[in-house]
Chain length 330, copies 2
Protein backbone atom coordinates (compact mmCIF):
# COMPACT_ATOMS: atom_id res chain seq x y z
CA UNK A 1 0.00 0.00 0.00
CA UNK A 2 1.38 3.38 -1.00
CA UNK A 3 1.59 6.29 1.39
CA UNK A 4 -0.76 9.15 0.56
CA UNK A 5 2.13 11.59 0.55
CA UNK A 6 3.64 9.87 -2.48
CA UNK A 7 0.23 9.76 -4.11
CA UNK A 8 -0.34 13.26 -5.52
CA UNK A 9 0.60 13.26 -9.21
CA UNK A 10 0.25 9.47 -9.36
CA UNK A 11 -2.66 8.04 -11.34
CA UNK A 12 -6.00 6.92 -9.94
CA UNK A 13 -8.68 5.05 -11.84
CA UNK A 14 -12.38 5.81 -12.22
CA UNK A 15 -14.31 2.72 -13.28
CA UNK A 16 -17.87 3.46 -14.35
CA UNK A 17 -18.33 6.84 -16.03
CA UNK A 18 -21.93 7.80 -15.35
CA UNK A 19 -22.70 11.03 -13.45
CA UNK A 20 -21.18 9.76 -10.19
CA UNK A 21 -17.98 8.49 -11.80
CA UNK A 22 -17.59 11.64 -13.88
CA UNK A 23 -18.01 13.77 -10.76
CA UNK A 24 -15.35 11.73 -8.98
CA UNK A 25 -13.03 12.22 -11.97
CA UNK A 26 -13.26 15.99 -11.50
CA UNK A 27 -12.77 15.72 -7.73
CA UNK A 28 -9.51 13.77 -8.16
CA UNK A 29 -8.15 15.73 -11.15
CA UNK A 30 -8.86 19.05 -9.42
CA UNK A 31 -6.67 17.90 -6.52
CA UNK A 32 -3.70 17.26 -8.81
CA UNK A 33 -4.09 13.54 -9.50
CA UNK A 34 -3.85 12.02 -12.97
CA UNK A 35 -7.24 10.40 -13.41
CA UNK A 36 -7.93 7.55 -15.81
CA UNK A 37 -11.58 7.09 -16.75
CA UNK A 38 -12.99 3.81 -17.99
CA UNK A 39 -16.48 2.55 -18.71
CA UNK A 40 -17.44 -0.75 -20.31
CA UNK A 41 -19.85 1.33 -22.39
CA UNK A 42 -17.66 3.58 -24.60
CA UNK A 43 -20.56 5.95 -25.32
CA UNK A 44 -20.51 6.92 -21.61
CA UNK A 45 -16.76 7.51 -21.29
CA UNK A 46 -16.78 9.58 -24.51
CA UNK A 47 -19.13 12.05 -22.83
CA UNK A 48 -16.90 12.60 -19.81
CA UNK A 49 -14.33 14.99 -21.29
CA UNK A 50 -16.80 17.46 -22.86
CA UNK A 51 -18.97 17.35 -19.71
CA UNK A 52 -15.93 17.87 -17.48
CA UNK A 53 -14.79 20.85 -19.58
CA UNK A 54 -18.13 22.58 -18.92
CA UNK A 55 -18.07 21.76 -15.22
CA UNK A 56 -14.48 22.95 -14.83
CA UNK A 57 -15.31 26.27 -16.50
CA UNK A 58 -18.21 26.76 -14.12
CA UNK A 59 -16.07 25.84 -11.10
CA UNK A 60 -13.44 28.32 -12.27
CA UNK A 61 -16.05 31.06 -12.70
CA UNK A 62 -17.09 30.51 -9.07
CA UNK A 63 -13.49 30.75 -7.84
CA UNK A 64 -13.42 27.04 -7.01
CA UNK A 65 -10.37 26.09 -9.10
CA UNK A 66 -6.86 27.21 -8.25
CA UNK A 67 -5.67 26.65 -11.82
CA UNK A 68 -6.96 27.19 -15.36
CA UNK A 69 -9.67 24.64 -16.27
CA UNK A 70 -7.56 23.25 -19.10
CA UNK A 71 -4.73 22.33 -16.72
CA UNK A 72 -7.16 20.23 -14.70
CA UNK A 73 -8.81 18.79 -17.81
CA UNK A 74 -5.39 17.63 -19.02
CA UNK A 75 -5.18 15.27 -16.04
CA UNK A 76 -8.24 13.36 -17.27
CA UNK A 77 -7.42 10.43 -19.53
CA UNK A 78 -10.09 8.21 -21.05
CA UNK A 79 -8.91 4.63 -21.56
CA UNK A 80 -10.37 1.66 -23.40
CA UNK A 81 -9.87 -1.27 -21.05
CA UNK A 82 -10.08 -2.06 -17.36
CA UNK A 83 -6.48 -3.32 -17.47
CA UNK A 84 -5.27 -0.02 -18.90
CA UNK A 85 -7.28 1.91 -16.30
CA UNK A 86 -5.93 0.18 -13.20
CA UNK A 87 -2.38 -0.66 -14.28
CA UNK A 88 -0.03 0.89 -11.71
CA UNK A 89 -2.67 2.92 -9.87
CA UNK A 90 -2.83 3.01 -6.08
CA UNK A 91 -6.58 3.67 -5.94
CA UNK A 92 -9.65 2.70 -7.93
CA UNK A 93 -13.01 4.43 -7.40
CA UNK A 94 -15.72 2.21 -8.85
CA UNK A 95 -19.09 3.72 -9.77
CA UNK A 96 -20.62 0.99 -11.92
CA UNK A 97 -24.31 0.07 -11.94
CA UNK A 98 -25.87 -0.40 -8.46
CA UNK A 99 -26.44 -4.12 -8.98
CA UNK A 100 -24.97 -6.94 -6.93
CA UNK A 101 -23.93 -9.12 -9.90
CA UNK A 102 -22.32 -6.20 -11.74
CA UNK A 103 -20.33 -5.09 -8.68
CA UNK A 104 -19.25 -8.66 -7.85
CA UNK A 105 -18.05 -9.27 -11.42
CA UNK A 106 -15.98 -6.09 -11.31
CA UNK A 107 -14.39 -7.12 -8.01
CA UNK A 108 -13.45 -10.50 -9.48
CA UNK A 109 -12.00 -8.82 -12.56
CA UNK A 110 -10.00 -6.40 -10.41
CA UNK A 111 -8.86 -9.30 -8.24
CA UNK A 112 -7.44 -10.95 -11.36
CA UNK A 113 -5.74 -7.97 -13.00
CA UNK A 114 -5.01 -5.21 -10.47
CA UNK A 115 -1.70 -4.75 -8.68
CA UNK A 116 -1.39 -6.54 -5.36
CA UNK A 117 -1.51 -3.32 -3.32
CA UNK A 118 -4.33 -1.44 -5.05
CA UNK A 119 -7.11 0.00 -2.87
CA UNK A 120 -10.70 -0.03 -4.13
CA UNK A 121 -13.44 2.35 -3.07
CA UNK A 122 -16.99 1.62 -4.19
CA UNK A 123 -19.59 4.36 -4.73
CA UNK A 124 -22.36 1.94 -3.76
CA UNK A 125 -25.19 3.84 -2.11
CA UNK A 126 -26.98 0.81 -0.74
CA UNK A 127 -25.27 -2.54 -1.28
CA UNK A 128 -22.71 -3.18 1.50
CA UNK A 129 -19.18 -4.21 0.51
CA UNK A 130 -19.50 -7.55 2.34
CA UNK A 131 -22.15 -8.53 -0.20
CA UNK A 132 -19.85 -8.26 -3.23
CA UNK A 133 -16.21 -7.77 -2.18
CA UNK A 134 -15.53 -10.58 0.27
CA UNK A 135 -13.45 -13.79 -0.05
CA UNK A 136 -11.06 -12.45 -2.67
CA UNK A 137 -7.39 -11.50 -2.57
CA UNK A 138 -8.42 -7.84 -2.70
CA UNK A 139 -11.06 -8.09 0.07
CA UNK A 140 -8.92 -6.43 2.78
CA UNK A 141 -8.31 -3.55 0.35
CA UNK A 142 -11.94 -2.85 -0.66
CA UNK A 143 -14.56 -0.71 1.08
CA UNK A 144 -17.51 1.56 0.35
CA UNK A 145 -16.70 5.22 -0.35
CA UNK A 146 -20.20 6.55 -0.92
CA UNK A 147 -20.49 10.18 -2.10
CA UNK A 148 -23.38 12.57 -2.47
CA UNK A 149 -24.16 13.23 -6.09
CA UNK A 150 -22.33 15.06 -7.57
CA UNK A 151 -19.14 14.33 -5.58
CA UNK A 152 -17.19 17.28 -7.00
CA UNK A 153 -19.80 19.71 -5.66
CA UNK A 154 -20.85 18.23 -2.28
CA UNK A 155 -17.92 17.08 -0.14
CA UNK A 156 -19.29 14.38 2.15
CA UNK A 157 -18.17 10.77 1.60
CA UNK A 158 -19.19 7.79 3.76
CA UNK A 159 -16.51 5.16 4.34
CA UNK A 160 -18.03 1.78 5.19
CA UNK A 161 -15.66 -1.17 5.59
CA UNK A 162 -16.82 -4.73 4.89
CA UNK A 163 -16.31 -7.46 7.44
CA UNK A 164 -12.97 -8.15 5.71
CA UNK A 165 -11.65 -4.62 5.08
CA UNK A 166 -8.39 -3.90 6.90
CA UNK A 167 -7.97 -0.94 9.24
CA UNK A 168 -5.05 0.23 7.05
CA UNK A 169 -7.37 0.47 4.08
CA UNK A 170 -9.86 2.61 5.97
CA UNK A 171 -7.05 4.88 7.12
CA UNK A 172 -5.59 5.15 3.62
CA UNK A 173 -8.91 6.14 2.02
CA UNK A 174 -9.63 8.57 4.87
CA UNK A 175 -6.33 10.37 4.18
CA UNK A 176 -6.76 10.25 0.44
CA UNK A 177 -10.28 11.71 0.61
CA UNK A 178 -9.27 14.44 3.04
CA UNK A 179 -6.29 15.29 0.82
CA UNK A 180 -8.61 15.89 -2.15
CA UNK A 181 -10.95 18.02 -0.03
CA UNK A 182 -13.81 15.61 0.73
CA UNK A 183 -15.41 15.42 4.19
CA UNK A 184 -15.08 11.88 5.57
CA UNK A 185 -17.76 10.16 7.64
CA UNK A 186 -16.92 6.80 9.22
CA UNK A 187 -19.80 4.33 9.22
CA UNK A 188 -18.83 1.57 11.64
CA UNK A 189 -21.51 -1.00 10.76
CA UNK A 190 -22.99 -2.05 7.41
CA UNK A 191 -26.52 -0.79 8.14
CA UNK A 192 -29.02 -0.51 5.31
CA UNK A 193 -28.75 2.93 3.67
CA UNK A 194 -25.57 3.75 5.65
CA UNK A 195 -25.88 7.04 7.56
CA UNK A 196 -26.74 9.61 4.90
CA UNK A 197 -29.63 7.80 3.30
CA UNK A 198 -30.98 6.66 6.66
CA UNK A 199 -31.16 10.30 7.82
CA UNK A 200 -32.71 11.34 4.53
CA UNK A 201 -35.16 8.42 4.69
CA UNK A 202 -36.31 9.41 8.17
CA UNK A 203 -37.02 13.00 7.17
CA UNK A 204 -38.66 11.99 3.87
CA UNK A 205 -40.92 9.48 5.58
CA UNK A 206 -42.32 12.18 7.84
CA UNK A 207 -42.55 14.66 4.95
CA UNK A 208 -44.52 12.24 2.78
CA UNK A 209 -46.85 11.34 5.65
CA UNK A 210 -47.58 15.02 6.35
CA UNK A 211 -48.39 15.61 2.68
CA UNK A 212 -50.55 12.46 2.53
CA UNK A 213 -52.51 13.46 5.63
CA UNK A 214 -53.25 16.95 4.33
CA UNK A 215 -51.19 18.66 7.04
CA UNK A 216 -49.04 20.62 4.57
CA UNK A 217 -48.23 20.81 0.87
CA UNK A 218 -44.89 19.73 -0.64
CA UNK A 219 -44.02 23.38 -1.16
CA UNK A 220 -44.79 24.34 2.44
CA UNK A 221 -42.77 21.37 3.73
CA UNK A 222 -39.89 22.38 1.46
CA UNK A 223 -40.13 25.93 2.82
CA UNK A 224 -39.99 24.62 6.39
CA UNK A 225 -36.64 23.07 5.60
CA UNK A 226 -35.09 25.57 3.16
CA UNK A 227 -36.16 28.69 5.13
CA UNK A 228 -35.82 27.06 8.56
CA UNK A 229 -34.20 23.78 9.55
CA UNK A 230 -31.82 23.73 6.57
CA UNK A 231 -30.16 27.02 7.53
CA UNK A 232 -28.75 25.57 10.72
CA UNK A 233 -28.13 22.10 9.37
CA UNK A 234 -26.03 23.52 6.51
CA UNK A 235 -23.27 24.54 8.89
CA UNK A 236 -23.93 22.73 12.18
CA UNK A 237 -25.64 19.37 11.70
CA UNK A 238 -28.48 18.13 13.94
CA UNK A 239 -26.52 17.36 17.13
CA UNK A 240 -24.75 20.70 17.33
CA UNK A 241 -28.06 22.43 16.53
CA UNK A 242 -29.81 20.98 19.57
CA UNK A 243 -26.70 21.26 21.74
CA UNK A 244 -26.94 25.04 21.28
CA UNK A 245 -30.74 25.14 21.64
CA UNK A 246 -31.07 24.63 25.40
CA UNK A 247 -29.24 26.56 28.14
CA UNK A 248 -27.54 23.41 29.48
CA UNK A 249 -26.70 21.84 26.12
CA UNK A 250 -27.80 18.56 24.60
CA UNK A 251 -28.73 16.67 27.79
CA UNK A 252 -30.83 19.63 28.91
CA UNK A 253 -32.45 19.68 25.46
CA UNK A 254 -33.21 15.95 25.63
CA UNK A 255 -34.82 16.25 29.04
CA UNK A 256 -37.00 19.12 27.81
CA UNK A 257 -38.03 17.71 24.42
CA UNK A 258 -37.34 13.98 24.55
CA UNK A 259 -40.90 13.10 25.56
CA UNK A 260 -42.41 15.19 22.73
CA UNK A 261 -40.06 13.66 20.17
CA UNK A 262 -40.79 10.15 21.39
CA UNK A 263 -44.50 10.82 21.17
CA UNK A 264 -44.07 12.08 17.59
CA UNK A 265 -42.02 9.00 16.71
CA UNK A 266 -44.69 6.67 18.09
CA UNK A 267 -47.31 8.37 15.94
CA UNK A 268 -45.43 7.07 12.87
CA UNK A 269 -44.91 3.48 13.93
CA UNK A 270 -45.20 1.41 10.73
CA UNK A 271 -46.74 3.97 8.51
CA UNK A 272 -46.99 1.81 5.36
CA UNK A 273 -45.15 2.03 2.03
CA UNK A 274 -45.49 4.87 -0.47
CA UNK A 275 -48.18 3.32 -2.66
CA UNK A 276 -49.09 4.29 -6.24
CA UNK A 277 -51.90 6.54 -5.12
CA UNK A 278 -49.69 8.49 -2.72
CA UNK A 279 -46.89 8.78 -5.30
CA UNK A 280 -49.38 10.20 -7.81
CA UNK A 281 -50.68 12.66 -5.20
CA UNK A 282 -47.21 13.89 -4.26
CA UNK A 283 -46.15 14.18 -7.89
CA UNK A 284 -49.24 16.23 -8.72
CA UNK A 285 -48.43 18.53 -5.79
CA UNK A 286 -44.79 18.96 -6.90
CA UNK A 287 -45.80 19.63 -10.51
CA UNK A 288 -47.65 22.72 -9.35
CA UNK A 289 -44.20 24.14 -8.56
CA UNK A 290 -42.05 22.58 -11.26
CA UNK A 291 -43.15 21.22 -14.63
CA UNK A 292 -41.72 17.87 -15.66
CA UNK A 293 -40.33 19.66 -18.75
CA UNK A 294 -38.33 21.99 -16.51
CA UNK A 295 -36.60 19.28 -14.46
CA UNK A 296 -33.37 19.36 -16.50
CA UNK A 297 -33.06 23.16 -16.36
CA UNK A 298 -33.77 23.08 -12.65
CA UNK A 299 -30.94 20.57 -12.14
CA UNK A 300 -28.57 23.06 -13.78
CA UNK A 301 -29.92 25.69 -11.37
CA UNK A 302 -29.25 23.33 -8.45
CA UNK A 303 -25.64 22.76 -9.53
CA UNK A 304 -25.19 26.50 -9.91
CA UNK A 305 -26.50 27.01 -6.35
CA UNK A 306 -24.22 24.27 -5.03
CA UNK A 307 -21.23 26.05 -6.57
CA UNK A 308 -22.30 29.34 -4.99
CA UNK A 309 -22.62 27.47 -1.72
CA UNK A 310 -19.19 25.87 -2.07
CA UNK A 311 -17.62 29.21 -2.99
CA UNK A 312 -19.10 30.81 0.08
CA UNK A 313 -17.97 27.96 2.32
CA UNK A 314 -14.42 28.16 0.97
CA UNK A 315 -14.24 31.94 1.38
CA UNK A 316 -15.58 31.72 4.92
CA UNK A 317 -13.21 28.94 5.94
CA UNK A 318 -10.38 31.34 5.12
CA UNK A 319 -11.72 33.82 7.64
CA UNK A 320 -11.33 33.83 11.38
CA UNK A 321 -14.62 32.12 12.18
CA UNK A 322 -13.85 29.87 15.10
CA UNK A 323 -14.32 26.18 14.46
CA UNK A 324 -15.43 23.75 17.16
CA UNK A 325 -12.68 22.58 19.43
CA UNK A 326 -12.55 19.56 21.70
CA UNK A 327 -12.64 19.85 25.46
CA UNK A 328 -9.23 20.08 27.07
CA UNK A 329 -10.78 19.32 30.43
CA UNK A 330 -13.69 16.83 30.75
Amino acid sequence: MKAVQSFIGEPVAIVGAGLVGAGWAIAFARAGLTTRVYDANPSLSEKVLPWAAKQLSALHAHGLLGEPPQVVANRLVCVNSLKEAVDGVAYVQESVLERLDVKRQLMEDLDAIADADVIIGSSSSGIPASAFANDLEISPRALIAHPVNPPHLVPVVELVPSTQTSADTVEFVDRLMVSIGQSVVHVRKEVEGFVLNRLQAALLREAWALQRDGVASCEDIDKTVRDGLGWRWSFMGPFETIDLNAPGGIADYASRLGALYYSIARSRVDDGPWNAELIAQVEKDRRQHLCADDLAARRDWRDEKLMEFAARKSSISGQSVSEPGSCTGA
Copy 2:
Protein backbone atom coordinates in the same frame (compact mmCIF):
# COMPACT_ATOMS: atom_id res chain seq x y z
CA MET B 1 -59.79 43.75 11.25
CA LYS B 2 -57.38 46.23 9.69
CA ALA B 3 -55.98 45.79 6.20
CA VAL B 4 -52.26 45.02 6.12
CA GLN B 5 -51.66 47.94 3.79
CA SER B 6 -52.68 50.39 6.53
CA PHE B 7 -50.59 48.49 9.04
CA ILE B 8 -47.01 49.62 8.42
CA GLY B 9 -46.19 52.38 10.89
CA GLU B 10 -49.00 51.26 13.18
CA PRO B 11 -48.05 49.64 16.49
CA VAL B 12 -47.85 45.91 17.19
CA ALA B 13 -47.42 44.32 20.60
CA ILE B 14 -44.92 41.73 21.76
CA VAL B 15 -46.10 39.98 24.91
CA GLY B 16 -43.43 37.87 26.56
CA ALA B 17 -39.90 39.22 26.19
CA GLY B 18 -37.65 36.18 26.39
CA LEU B 19 -35.37 35.34 23.47
CA VAL B 20 -38.25 34.49 21.15
CA GLY B 21 -40.23 37.63 21.96
CA ALA B 22 -37.14 39.83 21.70
CA GLY B 23 -36.32 38.32 18.30
CA TRP B 24 -39.87 39.02 17.12
CA ALA B 25 -39.53 42.61 18.32
CA ILE B 26 -36.55 43.10 15.99
CA ALA B 27 -38.33 41.40 13.10
CA PHE B 28 -41.28 43.77 13.36
CA ALA B 29 -39.31 46.95 14.10
CA ARG B 30 -36.92 46.27 11.22
CA ALA B 31 -39.90 46.17 8.86
CA GLY B 32 -41.03 49.65 9.93
CA LEU B 33 -43.60 48.83 12.61
CA THR B 34 -43.71 50.52 15.98
CA THR B 35 -43.26 47.64 18.40
CA ARG B 36 -44.37 47.69 22.02
CA VAL B 37 -42.66 45.15 24.24
CA TYR B 38 -44.21 43.86 27.45
CA ASP B 39 -43.29 41.11 29.91
CA ALA B 40 -44.94 40.42 33.27
CA ASN B 41 -41.39 40.09 34.57
CA PRO B 42 -39.84 43.61 34.28
CA SER B 43 -36.29 42.23 34.54
CA LEU B 44 -36.84 40.51 31.17
CA SER B 45 -38.25 43.49 29.31
CA GLU B 46 -35.46 45.70 30.65
CA LYS B 47 -32.94 43.52 28.84
CA VAL B 48 -34.63 43.83 25.47
CA LEU B 49 -33.38 47.27 24.42
CA PRO B 50 -29.67 46.72 25.14
CA TRP B 51 -29.85 43.25 23.55
CA ALA B 52 -31.65 44.63 20.50
CA ALA B 53 -29.05 47.38 20.09
CA LYS B 54 -26.30 44.76 19.81
CA GLN B 55 -28.30 42.60 17.41
CA LEU B 56 -29.19 45.59 15.22
CA SER B 57 -25.53 46.64 14.98
CA ALA B 58 -24.59 43.12 13.90
CA LEU B 59 -27.41 42.99 11.35
CA HIS B 60 -26.25 46.35 9.99
CA ALA B 61 -22.66 45.14 9.74
CA HIS B 62 -23.88 42.20 7.63
CA GLY B 63 -25.83 44.48 5.30
CA LEU B 64 -29.14 43.22 6.66
CA LEU B 65 -30.63 46.58 7.69
CA GLY B 66 -31.70 49.21 5.20
CA GLU B 67 -31.45 51.96 7.83
CA PRO B 68 -29.17 52.97 10.69
CA PRO B 69 -29.61 50.66 13.73
CA GLN B 70 -30.75 53.58 15.89
CA VAL B 71 -33.68 54.33 13.58
CA VAL B 72 -34.92 50.78 14.02
CA ALA B 73 -34.19 50.79 17.76
CA ASN B 74 -36.34 53.91 18.11
CA ARG B 75 -39.37 51.90 17.03
CA LEU B 76 -39.02 49.63 20.09
CA VAL B 77 -40.98 50.79 23.12
CA CYS B 78 -40.95 48.94 26.42
CA VAL B 79 -44.22 49.27 28.32
CA ASN B 80 -45.28 48.35 31.84
CA SER B 81 -48.71 46.79 31.47
CA LEU B 82 -50.54 44.46 29.14
CA LYS B 83 -53.21 47.10 28.66
CA GLU B 84 -50.64 49.64 27.54
CA ALA B 85 -49.05 47.09 25.20
CA VAL B 86 -52.17 46.11 23.31
CA ASP B 87 -54.15 49.35 23.35
CA GLY B 88 -54.94 50.22 19.73
CA VAL B 89 -52.68 47.62 18.14
CA ALA B 90 -53.87 45.47 15.25
CA TYR B 91 -51.61 42.53 16.09
CA VAL B 92 -50.22 40.86 19.23
CA GLN B 93 -47.41 38.31 19.05
CA GLU B 94 -47.41 36.34 22.30
CA SER B 95 -44.26 34.48 23.35
CA VAL B 96 -44.97 33.74 27.00
CA LEU B 97 -43.94 30.55 28.79
CA GLU B 98 -44.80 27.31 26.94
CA ARG B 99 -47.35 26.23 29.54
CA LEU B 100 -51.03 25.63 28.99
CA ASP B 101 -52.25 27.54 32.07
CA VAL B 102 -50.01 30.54 31.34
CA LYS B 103 -51.14 30.77 27.72
CA ARG B 104 -54.82 30.32 28.63
CA GLN B 105 -54.64 33.06 31.27
CA LEU B 106 -53.10 35.47 28.76
CA MET B 107 -55.85 34.71 26.23
CA GLU B 108 -58.50 35.44 28.86
CA ASP B 109 -56.76 38.68 29.80
CA LEU B 110 -56.53 39.72 26.16
CA ASP B 111 -60.17 38.79 25.67
CA ALA B 112 -61.05 41.20 28.45
CA ILE B 113 -58.91 44.20 27.51
CA ALA B 114 -57.91 44.10 23.83
CA ASP B 115 -59.76 45.91 21.04
CA ALA B 116 -62.50 43.95 19.37
CA ASP B 117 -60.59 43.52 16.11
CA VAL B 118 -57.11 42.63 17.40
CA ILE B 119 -55.41 39.56 15.90
CA ILE B 120 -53.26 37.33 18.13
CA GLY B 121 -50.41 35.10 16.99
CA SER B 122 -48.91 32.68 19.49
CA SER B 123 -45.28 31.53 19.31
CA SER B 124 -46.25 28.17 20.86
CA SER B 125 -43.96 25.46 19.55
CA GLY B 126 -46.01 22.56 20.76
CA ILE B 127 -49.35 23.42 22.39
CA PRO B 128 -52.06 23.83 19.74
CA ALA B 129 -54.22 26.96 19.80
CA SER B 130 -57.40 24.92 20.32
CA ALA B 131 -56.03 23.92 23.74
CA PHE B 132 -55.87 27.47 25.08
CA ALA B 133 -57.56 29.95 22.75
CA ASN B 134 -61.03 28.50 22.16
CA ASP B 135 -64.48 29.58 23.41
CA LEU B 136 -63.60 33.25 23.87
CA GLU B 137 -64.62 36.38 22.00
CA ILE B 138 -61.17 36.51 20.48
CA SER B 139 -61.07 32.83 19.41
CA PRO B 140 -61.71 33.49 15.69
CA ARG B 141 -58.82 35.98 15.79
CA ALA B 142 -56.17 33.78 17.43
CA LEU B 143 -53.81 31.24 15.86
CA ILE B 144 -50.32 29.79 16.23
CA ALA B 145 -47.51 31.72 14.50
CA HIS B 146 -44.56 29.52 15.44
CA PRO B 147 -41.09 30.80 14.49
CA VAL B 148 -37.66 29.24 14.49
CA ASN B 149 -35.48 30.72 17.16
CA PRO B 150 -34.34 33.43 16.68
CA PRO B 151 -37.16 34.74 14.45
CA HIS B 152 -35.23 37.80 13.25
CA LEU B 153 -32.48 35.56 11.82
CA VAL B 154 -34.35 32.55 10.41
CA PRO B 155 -37.44 33.48 8.36
CA VAL B 156 -39.76 30.49 8.55
CA VAL B 157 -43.01 30.82 10.53
CA GLU B 158 -45.69 28.12 10.85
CA LEU B 159 -49.29 29.33 10.87
CA VAL B 160 -51.58 26.82 12.58
CA PRO B 161 -55.24 27.80 13.05
CA SER B 162 -57.29 26.37 15.91
CA THR B 163 -60.66 24.76 15.25
CA GLN B 164 -62.18 28.22 15.79
CA THR B 165 -59.76 30.48 13.90
CA SER B 166 -61.38 32.31 10.99
CA ALA B 167 -59.99 32.09 7.45
CA ASP B 168 -59.69 35.92 7.46
CA THR B 169 -57.34 35.71 10.43
CA VAL B 170 -55.08 33.19 8.67
CA GLU B 171 -54.99 35.39 5.59
CA PHE B 172 -54.25 38.51 7.62
CA VAL B 173 -51.32 36.95 9.47
CA ASP B 174 -50.01 35.42 6.23
CA ARG B 175 -49.89 38.88 4.62
CA LEU B 176 -48.46 40.51 7.72
CA MET B 177 -45.67 37.94 8.01
CA VAL B 178 -44.80 38.10 4.31
CA SER B 179 -44.75 41.90 4.53
CA ILE B 180 -42.11 41.78 7.28
CA GLY B 181 -40.03 39.25 5.33
CA GLN B 182 -40.90 35.97 7.04
CA SER B 183 -41.49 32.77 5.06
CA VAL B 184 -44.99 31.44 5.80
CA VAL B 185 -45.82 27.75 6.08
CA HIS B 186 -49.48 26.77 6.39
CA VAL B 187 -50.11 23.85 8.73
CA ARG B 188 -53.65 22.65 8.03
CA LYS B 189 -54.14 20.36 11.03
CA GLU B 190 -53.11 20.69 14.68
CA VAL B 191 -50.67 17.77 14.68
CA GLU B 192 -48.26 17.35 17.59
CA GLY B 193 -45.03 19.28 16.87
CA PHE B 194 -46.58 20.96 13.81
CA VAL B 195 -44.46 20.48 10.66
CA LEU B 196 -41.04 21.83 11.63
CA ASN B 197 -40.57 19.93 14.85
CA ARG B 198 -42.02 16.75 13.35
CA LEU B 199 -39.41 16.86 10.58
CA GLN B 200 -36.68 17.64 13.07
CA ALA B 201 -37.92 14.87 15.39
CA ALA B 202 -37.81 12.30 12.59
CA LEU B 203 -34.22 13.14 11.68
CA LEU B 204 -33.11 13.35 15.31
CA ARG B 205 -34.65 10.00 16.16
CA GLU B 206 -32.61 8.29 13.46
CA ALA B 207 -29.46 10.27 14.42
CA TRP B 208 -29.73 9.25 18.08
CA ALA B 209 -30.35 5.62 17.19
CA LEU B 210 -27.29 5.55 14.92
CA GLN B 211 -25.14 7.00 17.69
CA ARG B 212 -26.60 4.60 20.26
CA ASP B 213 -25.95 1.57 18.04
CA GLY B 214 -22.33 2.51 17.41
CA VAL B 215 -22.88 3.13 13.70
CA ALA B 216 -21.45 6.66 13.78
CA SER B 217 -20.39 9.38 16.22
CA CYS B 218 -22.31 12.62 16.80
CA GLU B 219 -19.59 14.48 14.90
CA ASP B 220 -19.73 12.15 11.89
CA ILE B 221 -23.53 12.36 11.81
CA ASP B 222 -23.29 16.16 11.99
CA LYS B 223 -20.78 16.07 9.12
CA THR B 224 -23.16 13.94 7.04
CA VAL B 225 -25.73 16.71 7.31
CA ARG B 226 -23.60 19.87 7.28
CA ASP B 227 -21.27 18.70 4.47
CA GLY B 228 -23.93 16.71 2.61
CA LEU B 229 -27.70 16.72 3.05
CA GLY B 230 -27.81 20.23 4.52
CA TRP B 231 -26.28 21.84 1.42
CA ARG B 232 -29.25 20.92 -0.72
CA TRP B 233 -31.88 21.33 1.97
CA SER B 234 -30.72 24.91 2.65
CA PHE B 235 -32.05 26.09 -0.70
CA MET B 236 -34.33 23.34 -1.99
CA GLY B 237 -36.08 21.41 0.76
CA PRO B 238 -36.53 17.61 0.73
CA PHE B 239 -39.19 17.28 -1.98
CA GLU B 240 -37.40 19.41 -4.55
CA THR B 241 -34.16 17.59 -3.73
CA ILE B 242 -35.56 14.19 -4.67
CA ASP B 243 -37.60 15.59 -7.57
CA LEU B 244 -34.26 16.55 -9.16
CA ASN B 245 -32.50 13.32 -8.17
CA ALA B 246 -34.08 10.90 -10.64
CA PRO B 247 -34.36 11.37 -14.42
CA GLY B 248 -38.16 11.26 -14.36
CA GLY B 249 -38.65 13.37 -11.23
CA ILE B 250 -40.25 12.53 -7.91
CA ALA B 251 -42.45 9.60 -8.99
CA ASP B 252 -39.46 8.00 -10.71
CA TYR B 253 -37.42 8.57 -7.55
CA ALA B 254 -40.12 6.97 -5.38
CA SER B 255 -40.32 3.90 -7.60
CA ARG B 256 -36.53 3.49 -7.44
CA LEU B 257 -36.01 4.15 -3.73
CA GLY B 258 -39.39 3.74 -2.06
CA ALA B 259 -38.75 0.11 -1.10
CA LEU B 260 -35.35 0.91 0.46
CA TYR B 261 -36.80 3.83 2.43
CA TYR B 262 -39.72 1.74 3.64
CA SER B 263 -37.34 -0.98 4.75
CA ILE B 264 -35.27 1.61 6.66
CA ALA B 265 -38.43 3.00 8.28
CA ARG B 266 -39.52 -0.47 9.41
CA SER B 267 -36.16 -1.02 11.07
CA ARG B 268 -37.02 1.85 13.44
CA VAL B 269 -40.54 0.83 14.40
CA ASP B 270 -40.96 1.81 18.05
CA ASP B 271 -37.37 2.39 18.93
CA GLY B 272 -37.88 3.37 22.58
CA PRO B 273 -37.42 6.70 24.37
CA TRP B 274 -34.09 8.46 24.86
CA ASN B 275 -33.28 7.11 28.32
CA ALA B 276 -30.83 8.53 30.85
CA GLU B 277 -28.05 6.19 29.75
CA LEU B 278 -28.37 7.17 26.09
CA ILE B 279 -28.58 10.87 26.94
CA ALA B 280 -25.37 10.56 28.97
CA GLN B 281 -23.68 8.71 26.10
CA VAL B 282 -24.67 11.29 23.50
CA GLU B 283 -23.67 14.16 25.74
CA LYS B 284 -20.24 12.62 26.35
CA ASP B 285 -19.79 12.25 22.60
CA ARG B 286 -20.81 15.90 21.93
CA ARG B 287 -18.52 17.19 24.70
CA GLN B 288 -15.55 15.83 22.80
CA HIS B 289 -16.30 18.52 20.22
CA LEU B 290 -17.64 21.32 22.36
CA CYS B 291 -17.05 21.93 26.07
CA ALA B 292 -20.07 22.85 28.16
CA ASP B 293 -18.21 26.05 29.07
CA ASP B 294 -18.07 27.02 25.39
CA LEU B 295 -21.79 26.66 24.69
CA ALA B 296 -22.53 30.37 25.06
CA ALA B 297 -19.67 31.46 22.80
CA ARG B 298 -20.71 28.87 20.25
CA ARG B 299 -24.25 30.29 20.24
CA ASP B 300 -22.79 33.67 19.30
CA TRP B 301 -20.86 31.92 16.52
CA ARG B 302 -24.10 30.32 15.32
CA ASP B 303 -25.91 33.67 15.18
CA GLU B 304 -22.96 35.14 13.29
CA LYS B 305 -23.17 32.29 10.76
CA LEU B 306 -26.93 32.76 10.43
CA MET B 307 -26.38 36.43 9.61
CA GLU B 308 -23.78 35.51 6.98
CA PHE B 309 -26.28 33.03 5.62
CA ALA B 310 -29.07 35.62 5.56
CA ALA B 311 -26.80 38.19 3.90
CA ARG B 312 -25.88 35.72 1.20
CA LYS B 313 -29.53 34.75 0.63
CA SER B 314 -30.57 38.36 0.32
CA SER B 315 -27.76 39.21 -2.11
CA ILE B 316 -28.55 36.15 -4.23
CA SER B 317 -32.27 36.85 -4.33
CA GLY B 318 -31.42 40.13 -6.01
CA GLN B 319 -29.62 38.29 -8.81
CA SER B 320 -31.12 36.62 -11.83
CA VAL B 321 -31.24 33.12 -10.38
CA SER B 322 -34.45 31.62 -11.69
CA GLU B 323 -36.97 30.70 -9.03
CA PRO B 324 -39.32 27.76 -9.38
CA GLY B 325 -42.40 28.46 -11.47
CA SER B 326 -45.68 26.61 -11.58
CA CYS B 327 -46.72 24.58 -14.59
CA THR B 328 -48.73 26.51 -17.13
CA GLY B 329 -49.77 23.21 -18.69
CA ALA B 330 -50.48 20.16 -16.53
